[in-house]
């Protein structure tokens, strides 16, 4: 370890004397929208650095699509659709939706873990937008949604899925899944800002996530369900995402389901983003 000589600062030739009056005059009353965007992107840069240094964070977005796609296809394929090939167009969009949603759950858990670390004390003390530390990691998570959705389709193709929508249809489906993931992540970010610790976030999130993904049309045709359940399934936003993804990937059509999905996303953002900032401020 290098030792500091005494009075290291005074000897520094670059030193400028700090002038409080000028410093007060330089202060700005609030963050500008441009600053909010750039601060969010710097926080995204930080989150990406952390992801690269902790590659185990990619386990869920790599293993889950690979395992679930293969497992579901071979276990349920015959029972639900007669054979695996016929089941894939129904199931792959379902797995995409499920994987993206579980991935955005981990956004909330990781934010909560991150918030308990010392560096957040500094973010709070800095003159920066309160939404940036929340939105930044979510922007970085777009990479995770991309990996999750991309790998699911790739795995599907590997076991015989031939999406009728072609490359463009699949890309459209991936883009929609990424946007939905980003929007839904605000729910879990909000939970992350109000929960006592990361484990609570995990528990609460599961409570939301399981009914949403399994009580949807992700893995089974709706007509096979009892009528009460079918009503819930039809209203479930995850069903809209799954249907929209199917329409895009399997037939290349931008159906009304895409519109419903986007609307649901915007509603979630409009409610949960302000709530998250409120929850984060409460921690100050």
């Amino acid at each position: 370890m290098t030792t500091i000589t005494s009075d290291p600062i005074i000897r520094d030739p670059m030193v400028q004397v700090v002038d409080p009056v000028a410093a007060v005059a330089r202060t700005r009353p609030r963050t500008t929208p441009a600053e909010i965007v750039s601060q969010t992107l710097f926080m995204a840069w930080r989150a990406l650095k952390k992801m690269r240094r902790n590659p185990e964070q990619f386990f869920d977005v790599t293993l889950q699509p690979l395992l679930f796609t293969a497992m579901f296809a071979y276990v349920f394929g015959g029972a639900i659709s007669g054979n695996v090939q016929a089941y894939l167009p129904l199931m792959i969009p379902g797995i995409v939706a499920q994987t993206v949603l579980t991935t955005c759950m981990s956004s909330g858990v990781q934010l909560r873990e991150d918030m308990d670390k010392g560096v957040f004390d500094r973010f709070k003390a800095l003159p920066m937008a309160r939404i940036a530390p929340l939105a930044g990691p979510m922007v970085a998570d777009l990479v995770r949604y991309l990996i999750a959705a991309g790998l699911t389709f790739a795995m599907g193709v590997a076991i015989g899925y031939r999406p009728g929508g072609g490359v463009l249809g699949v890309l459209g489906a991936i883009a929609l899944a990424m946007f939905t993931g980003w929007s839904m992540a605000w729910i879990f970010t909000f939970l992350g800002t109000i929960a006592r610790n990361a484990r609570t976030v995990q528990g609460l999130s599961m409570l939301f996530l399981f009914p949403l993904t399994f009580l949807s049309n992700a893995f089974v045709p709706v007509r096979s369900l009892p009528s009460g359940l079918a009503t819930f399934v039809k209203m479930n936003p995850v069903s809209h995402l799954v249907s929209a993804t199917r329409d895009l990937a399997n037939s290349g059509t931008i159906s009304g389901e895409v519109g419903w999905t986007l609307l649901a996303c915007l509603v979630v953002i409009a409610i949960c983003a302000p709530l998250s900032v409120w929850g984060y401020r409460r921690h100050l």
Partner: protein
């Protein structure tokens, strides 16, 4: 000249607890101002209120004339805050940390890099610039943390117990660094549990206890109120504690602090030389002791003399900085 900090009647309550209970504070520009008190006295809470990290429940505070409650965003541009625990990112390198904090505060990429390089050099961390923080020692973390507070050259620096947990050598280095901050024209507000730290660094000190200000003055003013050193003795189990107390009163002219259960006795002295007088008088009176040492006045004694109660219930281990080597006595 505007005061660096001008606070009146600060109050913070957590449920039933009044953590800060009506504190007034005036910190002049260019001074090192020490806030001294045991754990849980309200030091950190007060600092956090002034740094906009906690809301102010009652009272008013201004930093260089800017109202803390009304314009928190301006306040954050005037302050560098270094907490008790290093608030830097464990997963990033030292350079990346400083670069990020610079960028978040509006520096250009080149300026942020130059500023990071300059600060790492200034704090003797250039060799560790590209190492992850997880490999840093405690002292290095503290220095990096302080460097992170200086990126935009704020005129006021808050240091919350900057040397707690550091070894003596690293502590001395930190002290030099803090003096350097003031030499550059900054104002420093520092909390500490150590009387000697406040003594070494601070131009003025307030002592707070249970959220209230109990004393204010220069280090010398505070120390003369408690004597210059303390004789600490462990009375032998068979020793007559009442007799010992009378001997001390007679020889040293002061009231000893006696813990009856453990037989520990502390005697405040004007000078360490007087310790021998007490010991000789004990031998003559037949009071036997099992160990003895001479220590600088501790926060305990400051507290005892100012508040009439000691800090033992708040923190026991943190108190004495023993200067004399403890001597085993037959």
């Amino acid at each position: 000249m505007t005061a660096a900090i001008d606070a009146v009647g600060l109050v913070k309550t957590f449920g039933q607890l009044r953590a800060v209970d009506g504190i007034d504070l005036e910190v002049r520009q260019g001074e090192i101002f020490g806030v001294l008190g045991p754990n849980g006295a309200g030091k950190t809470t007060m600092l956090k209120m002034l740094a906009t990290l906690l809301t102010i429940d009652a009272g008013q505070a201004r930093v260089f004339g800017v109202d803390v409650a009304r314009e928190p965003h301006r306040i954050r541009q005037l302050l560098g805050v270094t907490g008790q625990y290093a608030s830097v990112d464990e997963d990033l390198t030292a350079t990346e940390n400083l670069w990020l904090f610079g960028r978040l505060q509006g520096l250009s990429s080149a300026d942020a890099r130059a500023s990071a390089e300059r600060l790492l050099g200034q704090f003797g961390l250039e060799d560790a610039a590209n190492k992850p923080i997880s490999q840093f020692s405690g002292g290095m973390r503290r220095r990096l943390d302080l460097a992170a507070s200086l990126i935009t050259r704020p005129p006021l620096i808050f240091l919350d117990e900057p040397t707690t947990g550091l070894d003596p050598r690293t502590r001395g280095q930190m002290w030099d660094t803090i003096r350097g901050l003031v030499a550059e024209g900054r104002t420093v507000l520092l909390t500490t549990q150590y009387l000697d730290e406040a003594d070494q660094l601070a131009d003025r000190i307030v002592v707070i206890d249970h959220g209230r200000k109990v004393a204010e003055g220069t280090p010398d003013e505070l120390k003369t109120s408690v004597g210059n050193s303390t004789l600490q003795m462990q009375l032998a189990p068979e020793a007559d504690q009442e007799l010992a107390r009378q001997v001390v009163r007679r020889v040293a002219g002061t009231e000893p602090v006696l813990t009856q259960e453990s037989g520990r006795m502390n005697v405040p002295l004007d000078s360490a030389d007087h310790a021998a007088d007490v010991l000789i008088a004990f031998r003559q009176a037949g009071v036997s002791i099992s160990s003895v040492s001479v220590a600088q006045p501790t926060l305990d004694e400051v507290f005892l003399s100012i508040t009439g109660h000691d800090t033992a219930e708040a923190n026991e281990a943190e108190s004495a900085e023993t200067v004399g080597v403890a001597v085993e006595v037959q």
